[in-house]
Symmetry: C2
Subunit: 337 residues, 2 copies
């Protein structure tokens, strides 16, 4: 069969390769109905990521099942199927908790920009749908990555009805982020975009405002549109350190930036957060907001946090208090005037 | 009156200073019943943060109102009050959204390790409680910072009943994080701690497991305790880059690290997240988990993400597809075999 092979920067070729076959009883072979090119494929094409040897490429597809291994029970030959950009077992604790992209048995395809592909873990990976109308194929294809990725940004950012949402990035993922925000009932959707045709599509998808600026100019424009408060949720669909920095600045205190742009020049902690799908959220405690909840718990004896004071001193011995804590002799020192 | 003044590293003195007075009609003067020393005060004491001139210090207190300005209506002289470690108006959009620690009119005290303090924005800041029993004073004092801060870590991490929670740090905030996790119904509370007396207090507060290791050893131990899955929520109560790195490693995919340890050697983005109380959450989209929600939306026409394909080519023109996307002539290219 024919499949796409990347040989190096700006060198992509369609080549004859061996037909995919069932290698494991959990495999399926899917004949491709459509595939596509992802923004992340361009890293190698542009020479930003290295290509060490000719490599099959592509990870988005819809197709028809051609063959299944003996252990496969959820799909059968002839069915139209959609699959994620990875394969997963759908039974491990991470899959069951909703994070199949960190599946304990995560696996990758050989390259989906091809006439057919081998799908590992077919039962956990593929979803069969009735043969769709031809005009639905492009939308179904987006579910294998970009639409689901824009949706993930909105899920992680906690988009709810009525919110003001900023979408950073006007690529396919950002545009799908607009669709996701709209589907979740966002009241206002501000898209950071400089390209007129993409701005038009963003508006068609539900964007209410376009901000062409980036950096400080963009932040100023978003603040101008939100009465100086910032957005209730931000979808970061680019992945550069600059874009993450801007996204954090668009967000109002308490908001979450849902980030799905693969970070490629960020702090190692941010790269870890991305690769493990682990969030980070906090800051100075809004003590005044918590007091009405916590005071009753102290007054009725439910909690007894005063026990963290393991030393009490009169105020005129405050220097000793500092010394005891600095030397770790005391957890925390209470002072009485 | 007498107040604590820090002159430099290891040089803390109780000195005679002018009595606080009502300076603005929104002020109150509070006579201190108790104050305390915070871990963050130790940065200057240890010489980690500079002390450029003699400076009043301390930000935690409970006390009795002595005087109020003409505009103050919520508290009156003679009332016992608790206040956060900052002052806030409780009316701005950030306060109303639950994030008073990023109040548009946030203000700081002159120094609370003193016989009395001036409290700006008294109506928004102070909470009056009936004169408490003497033994409740320490616990009420913790509400001004450490207990509410441990609570914030648990809130931000999304701790819910039955969860396995890791608390990183056995200082007063970490210990209060244990109390918070317990109060929110955590099923298992693992504390990272090396100090026997603090381990004992942590267990009293509800910790079920103690992990003395840090770095890779600590991660291995937490994974061993959680069947290799990781924790459902992590409370980061230290603030170093190492501690944040470890916290991210303890968390299972999908979990959130609630971080309240002031970051002092982290990436600028993490410092921004802290100072603005903005979260960051995402990673590779768990497409397989979203497919059952998204497929019906495509099939019934609610969403039409296929419109992101603005170019369609046969597979044998795949090289053109890459070129068109790399040159930004196409948003995304669909390929047909």
């Amino acid at each position: 069969m024919r499949a796409t092979v990347i040989h190096g920067a700006h060198d992509v070729r369609l080549e004859e390769v061996p037909d995919p076959v069932i290698e494991l009883p959990t495999d399926a072979v899917v004949r491709t109905v459509a595939s596509c090119v992802c923004g992340s494929d361009l890293w190698r094409y542009r020479g930003i990521a290295p290509v060490r040897r000719p490599t099959r490429i592509g990870h988005e597809y819809v197709g028809v099942v051609e063959a299944v291994g003996d252990a496969v029970t959820a799909v059968r030959p002839g069915q139209f199927v959609v699959g994620p950009f990875y394969s997963c077992d759908s039974t491990c604790p991470h899959c069951e908790a909703g994070f199949s992209s960190v599946c304990e048995h995560l696996d990758w395809y050989d390259g989906c920009q091809a006439e057919a592909i081998r799908v590992p873990l077919a039962d956990g990976t593929l979803v069969a749908v009735e043969q769709p109308a031809e005009e639905l194929v492009p939308s179904l294809l987006t579910l294998s990555d970009v639409m689901a990725t824009g949706w993930h940004a909105a899920e992680m950012a906690g988009v709810r009805a009525g919110m003001t949402v900023v979408v950073v990035g006007d690529g396919a993922v950002g545009l799908c982020g607009v669709i996701a925000a709209k589907a979740k009932g966002a009241g206002r959707i501000i898209v950071i975009s400089r390209h007129a045709p993409r701005q038009a599509l963003a508006r068609d998808f539900g964007a209410t405002d376009i901000v062409p600026g980036r950096g400080e100019a963009g932040v100023e424009q978003v603040m101008g549109l939100t009465s100086g408060i910032g957005a209730d949720a931000v979808l970061e669909c680019v992945g550069t350190a600059d874009s993450i920095r801007d996204s954090l600045a668009y967000a109002r205190p308490g908001a979450v930036v849902g980030f799905v742009g693969v970070p490629h020049d960020s702090d190692p902690s941010i790269a870890t957060m991305f690769s493990r799908n682990v969030g980070l959220r906090g800051g100075m405690a809004p003590v005044r907001n918590y007091l009405p909840q916590l005071l009753p718990l102290v007054l009725d004896g439910t909690i007894d946090p005063g026990r963290v004071f393991d030393l009490e001193l009169p105020l005129d011995r405050v220097a000793e208090a500092y010394e005891a804590m600095a030397e770790r002799r005391a957890i925390k020192v209470l002072l009485r005037p």
